[in-house]
């Protein structure tokens, strides 16, 4: 466990010391603010809960983008710079390396999410917001961020190029949000499986509306675990190449 925290600490340091983390955080928060102002608040009068639902809807997209962008460098950069050898010759296991890398990106995503809290607070000041609704939405965003950073960590482990990593991560992340479309043209039982695998339609909708379902928590946790396991296998396979 100590190795995981050490890796998280170093990676977070790299985000803060370099320009990447700041630029991604600033870009995401700026876009989120614009979308909040233009679409969630809009010109017409709305119920506070509706404003929050709209806010969580595009925040999900922003979280996906931030997760893919933040995770692209995790392993690809180390391989490109030749520093992966420091981790692979340390006593840290491949699993600890994968989890440490993922967690650093996820923590940074959580910090970006925390910095966006002023928007629901503004709604609360000018309207009526149930804290449970805010909690539910942010829980959903945190879970979707966890799953997407795990997916990004996996794609980052496949290549020494961050461009390849981000393109592959972007394609996979986009696919996870349109599975419900494929489910409409698929036959049973594949349609149900595809619908279940959709990041938004089947699972995030509930969080967005203020409802927490255990099945959705299990889903996002499983996806996170699955991609971390794949990352561990990729790291292990490199020792056998």
């Amino acid at each position: 466990m100590r190795a995981i925290w050490l890796i998280v600490g170093r990676e977070l340091g790299a985000y803060f010391k370099g320009w990447t983390g700041w630029v991604i955080a600033a870009g995401i928060l700026m876009l989120q603010g614009v979308l909040f102002n233009v679409f969630a608040l809009g010109d017409s009068e709305k119920l506070s809960s509706k404003v929050l639902q709209d806010f969580f809807y595009f925040s999900m997209g922003m979280t996906l983008v931030a997760s893919v962008l933040l995770s692209m460098r995790l392993i690809a950069e180390e391989r490109h710079d030749g520093t992966m050898v420091l981790l692979l010759t340390s006593p840290a296991s491949d699993w600890q390396i994968a989890v440490g890398k993922w967690m650093s990106a996820w923590v940074f995503v959580l910090l970006i999410l925390a910095a966006s809290l002023y928007m629901p607070l503004m709604v609360a000041v000018n309207g009526s917001v149930h804290p449970g609704h805010v909690f539910s939405g942010y829980l959903g965003l945190a879970l979707i961020g966890a799953a997407t950073t795990a997916l990004g960590t996996f794609t980052s482990s496949l290549s020494s190029s961050q461009v390849v990593s981000v393109v592959l991560g972007g394609i996979l992340a986009s696919l996870t949000c349109v599975m419900w479309l494929f489910s409409k043209v698929a036959s049973p039982p594949l349609d149900e499986l595809l619908a279940y695998m959709d990041f938004y339609y089947r699972h995030f909708q509930d969080f967005r509306e203020g409802t927490i379902h255990t099945r959705s928590i299990v889903f996002y946790s499983s996806v996170t675990f699955f991609f971390l396991l794949l990352t561990q296998k990729v790291l292990g396979a490199r020792r056998w190449r």
Partner: protein, 316 residues
């Protein structure tokens, strides 16, 4: 004690290292010597736990690298040819991070850090960001990260490559200083480098161990004795003829001529190289051939390899 038995590594269908068997005593400095592509780096990466072997075993103090990789990695420090560095970190921050990652407590790292910085000549650079350091100092940071956790085995892949002559001398001194406290395994394609630094030579050719032992043992085994160049003034053929008649000299040939100076390359039997060299110089001077330079012949490594390759082909 490092024991390697039948170590083999394939990259797909390509055999990079084949059936390596050797052992290194605690505190010894051993050198993998071989031409480019001989399999040195692959062998070192396997020993460092970075790659897993296709077959064979590696034991470090009785612990198997394959069965207990995480335990073994605590006992190994590895510096690849290109120093792996997090360039945005300071020297002390980088070493502290790696010390902790390799199982040390904060107190242990803080206690060990001054000694490591001192040994690697980095005491005045501990707060510098690595990105601002020269290549020579980056190599030093690379060595510092390899020894910060006080490992049993320190593995250095081409530690002096890319350094200027002054840095090479300092680096050799640094590597030499690691012996005793640590078992050190370095790789090089430079015979002089290994001769000056190592107690034990492991010569690799096309992935196979072609000879091992001290330099003298290898010369004795393959009968080269060592090749020495003598620059003399005067009639070259006569000088070479005189030298070739001496005891302890296997052959003497004229191999170069610049103006009045002729280079004679002498192959010694190598039973007592200093004495044999002195007798050659004495004989030349006595015969009226002033000697202006005595040096180890260049391409000696290639000569040794050609000799070894010839022996192997003959054996096959």
């Amino acid at each position: 004690m490092i024991e390697v038995s039948g170590l083999t590594k394939y990259y797909g269908d390509i055999c990079a290292v084949s059936d390596l068997t050797f052992s290194i005593e605690r505190g010894q400095i051993a050198g993998f010597l071989g031409l480019n592509g001989a399999g040195k780096s692959t062998a070192l990466k396997v020993l460092a736990g970075f790659l897993l072997p296709t077959s064979g075993s590696v034991m470090i103090d009785g612990v198997d690298v394959i069965a207990q990789p995480e335990l073994v990695r605590k006992r190994i420090g590895f510096l690849p040819e290109e120093p792996p560095l997090y360039k945005e970190m300071t020297v002390s921050g980088f070493l502290t991070y790696l010390g902790k990652l390799r199982g040390m407590t904060s107190t242990q790292v803080q206690d060990r850090l001054p000694d490591v910085l001192g040994r690697t000549g980095l005491s005045d650079y501990s707060t510098r960001v690595i990105d601002t350091l020269s290549l020579g100092y980056r190599k030093r940071v690379g060595i510092a990260q390899a020894i910060i956790h006080d490992p049993t085995l320190v593995i250095l892949d081409e530690p002096v490559s890319g350094l200027d002559p002054l840095q090479r001398v300092e680096m050799r001194k640094l590597v030499r200083g690691l012996g005793g406290d640590h078992t050190v395994l370095i790789s090089s394609h430079n015979l002089l480098e290994v001769e000056e630094t190592c107690d034990l030579l492991l010569m690799l050719g096309e992935g196979e161990l072609v000879a091992q032992g001290t330099e003298q043992e290898i010369h004795d085994r393959i009968g080269t004795g060592g090749r020495i160049e003598f620059d003399v003034r005067g009639e070259a053929e006569s000088a070479a003829g005189i030298v070739s008649m001496l005891a302890g000299v296997k052959s003497a040939d004229v191999t170069g001529e610049v103006g009045e100076i002729t280079t004679i390359t002498v192959v010694l039997l190598g039973q007592d190289r200093p004495a044999e060299t002195e007798s050659v110089v004495g004989a030349l001077v006595q015969a009226g051939f002033p000697v202006s330079r005595v040096a180890q012949a260049s391409n000696e490594l290639e000569g040794l390899f050609l000799k070894l390759a010839g022996n192997r082909e003959g054996a096959a």
